[in-house]
Symmetry: C2
């Protein structure tokens, strides 16, 4: 009964997400996303100092024209709500003032509304009987609509008009710029020596009750008890002055009267909070407003192994905490949107929340506005992931409209990237570029042609070609296909070491290095950069070779596990997941970490970047079990965009049984498997169950049960 | 006595303008200008409807880093004022919170302050004993300052750092975003039939005293009595509702209580104001807050002819009214910054206010931010004037620093322009381009290669080359010199009609047209596009040829008069000025108009763009007598940048005597001339008086008197 209720709710939800609402606030696509992203990316603090990103932050277009041609049978009154100063033109005639209501006679009308707003994105909401704002309105930042003395009008054929952007602000009073995440009160589970414990990693606004006396109060936020106890080194902190009945936040200058509850204006990540009072200052009670993005857990997983269930659960909570206005990296330190990190969150999201809007919003923000002055987040690999993620998104969503909207931005980026190629058509880190790859445990040469970057580059250009082909840009598609093919053709020649049977790390001044890391081999397997035979070779000679440097970030372990799954190593992957993610759980993790080296111990688990608590203990890229379990154990994945066609290739590994849901645009696919049978039930799409060498068609809406 | 006082004041003023203030608010160059320009350009209304520009409006960088290395002998406390959220890093260490004061120990320090502000430009003011913000601070919108796990820092050598921008906000409380023009109360000189007359063209905020009753009030602003009387067609208007003791502005929604003085929030241009009350609504008194940019009239002119004196005076008032936050076109209608119009205001300004900041501010705004998506104001000619004006500015100011600051923007523009050339290396109007030239009285073919545009293009590229050469960009200088030379070499071949002894208007699909307008010949003379012999030919065959269509805008008459002056026709020009500008005065003008055709009569003087009061009666480009009298009659002009060297070539025409000052970076040059003698006194520079075939050196600070 409970299951049915959830399933109907999830179906309804999914319909709501897919449909354009009857009327909704609209804006220039990307504008709201960039503005909201600036709001978010500028909330980072470092020991009480504001700490903004080091890349260019863009702005929305400050004046935008919204237009729509309508035909109505009966007269109607439309009401207009606007964020900004505006004018209304009906059938070419400007109306007086800024009218809140306009009467339209029956017939065809041309509506043009121009909005100016510097502080927040120009946004429009129109509601009539038939005439409503939605994603079919056209928008431009520059209509070039001049009229000559003679009445000769300009040629607006070259002005850029695109479909409006929107999200889910569906009433006049649900104003986009006032968007806030939801909050709910939460209490500490206990306190000891001035350290309050909230039981698990959490995020929100600390609340202090009964602040009194005269003196100062220092708040030390800790993801660990050690951090909350260490005023000298905790990564985030707050300071209050209590004087003459007034409590002042020394960081922001905000003031409250003694007696009122003091709620900090800046949210923080913590499990523990150390409160140190000096003078006669005192605090009676500490609680918090937990802040979160409301998401529906559409994906589910449970199985016979409690450690694996725990892994799923902690993965879900980690992704929930890092799914905020956008997909961010981790909640404690940066709280920024990083393209590489986000590209993993997207994939996990497809198997949990399946929130398309969150994916698109993050991609718009990362793209920013032109001119492009650096790689995304300044990181070369991160620009390349961005292309790949656009194509991934289409596979899971089938949202061709987004491809059309984002394509001009993709074109600008590919031109930026291509303008930085060397004579071999490859990418080397130029001055100002950050070549990241991974936080590896030994120094990595970032000079010259890195095999890892070229393999990513091939896939990025392939993604560009695929998008171009999908939206009918045939010339572009051929051009990028050719580029990808040529580059792919050079990978083996440039980087293969026949003695080692491996892809070497890099090539500097035409000389292959001796160094081998796992990264490029993993991606060569994932992206089919090499033949199947080579991939099998790489699996044993590199990926499963214990002599090669171990990966210690969940970031790259994600791809390592995925590559092994692709080659049918689910059994081994299940074991490694239990060792690695299970290892964090055994260390007391309530969310997954930025980095985990099983050979570390005690406080060394907390340190990173040369700082004792530098490591983020709640990092999105830690949550990959969600994706791996959904995609490679339940085994569900689209084979045509938007699950129009899909496969279920379940793999039990050494579990006794497993069961779960994978969300799709049609609803979900439910899979249950034990050692003898598999049952599948799907809400839509043309599915095929692949098991024990057989391929069985999956009907819609009716459970099938197969013995294997 | 009076003259001496003025002269000292003017000298002091000039010193203040040249010097960097001890401490001043700073920002990313162009940011404040673009933001303030948006504020201004978005104040246009059309019969009560908000009317924004139709070109892309840009935004400031929302996060900016300010930095400076200092060395101090003694410890000092610096105070910090900021527009935005900020952090302070001293010697690489971030300080807690947003400190308002910081103590610096003696020695060298590196100060970095990052500011984020979406609504208004990030701006910084630091004041210590030695350490103060000024134009020597460095700023960037993207430092790319990442640090690797290993501590490896990024290569910031490619990050864009430039010198900070500033104006004259020299105290902590004089916050840039709160800048407002000055206002002063002014009264109507009389009223008749509900029409209030303010005596002359004016600009500001209307004030209504004693509004009472119940009903509505319509305010009709008129540059003419006719317009203020015509509720149906007046170009600007306001409407109030008076109800239950509350007065509501129906355009903006602002409310006041009955009994308070109602001051409109939107400024307007008018001489006459029609007040029409309905219901029982009543108004007791009408006055205004005249709004103006405080400018010093450094240039002066007086002579034996009262009409010419009047012309100077009205020119001065016209330029004063249109010199606002920026140089705008006219005060009634657009109130926008147009590059072509502004390029004339700059020139007039050099002979009147000599306000360099106003010139630079206007140029920054016009340039906007990249990407460049259209010509400046969408007009091809207007982009070309912008280049020419930068080089002109350097001649009058000697401000090489500005050339360095603006050069990257010039480069972006020349690349935009050059990317639009045809196979002949010429510019044709492409889709979306407005090819303006002038408001001519007969239809003008704008297709194909217009001779006018190519002549402007040559000069623009020459200006680019000169700027490049001045700041030491040798390679660029040679490239643009070559381009200009090649294009110049084609002008005669492409456009000369030997039969007509004229430059024809255009060339379409390789075929020269038969059409001849004056415009291209005028510019060929002004810009030395042709030989001296050809210029003399053009003077008689085209410019002084009554069979060619007469010019009826002061805009192009400016250049026509200037071309004639260049060829020594001052006598004729004085006569034409008295006919043309004198003609407007005889029609009752209190400021000069957008267009004037002496053959029009009555109401037809008021109409334009097919609207009865469409014409602007206070248009900056009307004020050119200021420039012509200073440059070609007093005869003062720089021959080396910044008046390091200059000439005085006075010309009395048919005047009995004339006398006046021309401002220079050193102070001014005073000239007095009658039919027998010329006297000159100069505050600086190496001057030469050219008169009656003689060249006499002008000493500094000592009047010379020459008989001729």
């Amino acid at each position: 009964m409970n299951r049915i209720a959830i399933s109907i709710a999830s179906l309804l939800m999914s319909l709501c997400v897919q449909n354009v609402a009857a009327q909704t606030w609209i804006w220039y696509p990307g504008d709201y996303e960039i503005w909201l992203g600036n709001e978010m990316n500028n909330r980072r603090t470092d020991r009480g100092a504001y700490f903004p990103p080091f890349w260019k932050q863009d702005s929305h277009y400050v004046t935008v024209e919204f237009s729509k041609e309508v035909e109505i049978a009966a007269s109607e009154t439309i009401s207009i709500a606007v964020e900004g100063k505006y004018n209304v033109k009906i059938d070419g005639r400007m109306l007086f003032g800024m009218p809140k209501e306009v009467q339209l006679a029956p017939g065809r009308h041309k509506i043009n509304i121009k909005v100016h707003n510097q502080a927040t994105p120009p946004a429009l909401f129109v509601k009539g009987k038939e005439v409503v704002t939605d994603g079919t309105w056209r928008v431009t930042y520059e209509d070039k609509e001049w009229i000559d003395e003679s009445g000769k009008a300009s040629d607006t054929s070259v002005s850029t008009y695109v479909d409006a952007g929107y999200w889910n602000f569906n009433t006049a009073t649900d104003v986009p710029s006032r968007f806030r995440l939801k909050t709910t009160r939460a209490e500490a589970i206990g306190s000891k020596d001035g350290i309050y414990d909230f039981g698990k990693e959490t995020f929100g606004y600390l609340r202090l009750d009964g602040v009194e006396g005269n003196g100062s109060i220092e708040i030390r936020y800790g993801e660990s008890r050690e951090e909350a106890s260490d005023g000298e080194h905790c990564e985030t902190l707050d300071r209050l002055k209590v004087e003459n009945g007034v409590v002042t936040d020394l960081c922001t200058g905000e003031e409250r009267r003694v007696g009122e509850t003091f709620v900090f204006g800046n949210s923080k990540a913590f499990r523990y909070v150390g409160v140190e009072c000096s003078g006669t200052a005192k605090v009676q009670g500490v609680s918090m407003d937990y802040e979160y993005m409301p998401e529906v857990e559409r994906g589910t997983f449970s199985c016979s192994d409690e450690m694996v269930n725990k892994m799923w659960e902690i993965g879900v909570y980690t992704l929930q905490l890092t799914t905020r206005e956008f997909f961010i990296d981790g909640i404690k330190r940066d709280r920024w949107v990083w393209s590489g990190d986000a590209s993993q969150s997207y994939l996990m999201n497809y198997y949990l929340f399946n929130d398309n809007e969150e994916v698109k919003r993050t991609m718009w923000l990362l793209a920013g506005k032109q001119p492009i002055t650096s790689h995304i987040n300044t990181i070369m690999d991160y620009t390349l992931y961005w292309f790949i993620s656009v194509w991934d998104y289409y596979q899971y969503s089938g949202d061709e409209h987004f491809l059309r909207q984002i394509y001009p931005v993709m074109t600008a980026y590919i031109e930026f990237v291509n303008s930085r190629r060397d004579a071999d058509g490859m990418l080397q880190g130029l001055a100002g570029d950050w070549v990241f790859v991974d936080w590896a445990d030994k120094p990595m040469d970032k000079r010259g042609q890195l095999s890892f970057e070229q393999i990513l580059f091939v896939r990025a250009v392939e993604s560009m070609a695929s998008v171009a082909k999908t939206i009918g840009e045939k010339g572009d598609a051929e051009k990028y296909e050719r580029q990808a093919r040529e580059l792919k053709g050079k990978i083996k020649e440039f980087f293969w070491d026949e003695g080692k049977k491996a892809i070497v790390h890099n090539r500097l001044n035409g000389v292959k290095s001796e160094e081998v890391f796992k990264f490029s081999s993993i991606f060569a397997i994932l992206f089919d950069t090499m033949t199947d035979a080579d991939k099998e070779t790489l699996k044993t000679s590199v990926v499963m070779n214990d002599d090669i440097l171990k990966i210690t970030t969940p970031y790259m372990r994600f791809y390592e596990m995925e590559a092994l799954c692709r080659l049918g190593e689910q059994q081994r992957v299940m074991k490694e997941m239990k060792d690695y993610w299970g290892g964090m759980i055994q260390q007391g993790a309530t969310t997954f970490w930025e980095k985990y080296n099983p050979t570390d111990s005690g406080r060394s688990h907390l340190q990173m970047y040369g700082r004792p608590y530098g490591k983020s203990l709640c990092h999105a890229w830690g949550a990959s079990p969600i994706y791996l379990l959904g995609r490679y154990f339940l085994g569900v994945s689209p084979t045509k965009p938007g699950y129009e066609e899909y496969e279920v290739r379940p793999s039990l590994a050494d579990l006794k049984w497993m069961e779960g849901d994978v969300p799709t645009p049609f609803g979900k696919v439910h899979v249950r498997m034990d050692k003898k049978t598999v049952s599948v039930k799907s809400d839509g799409g043309k599915g095929v169950l692949v098991i024990g060498g057989k391929r069985v068609d999956i009907p819609v809406g009716k459970e099938i049960k197969i013995k294997y």
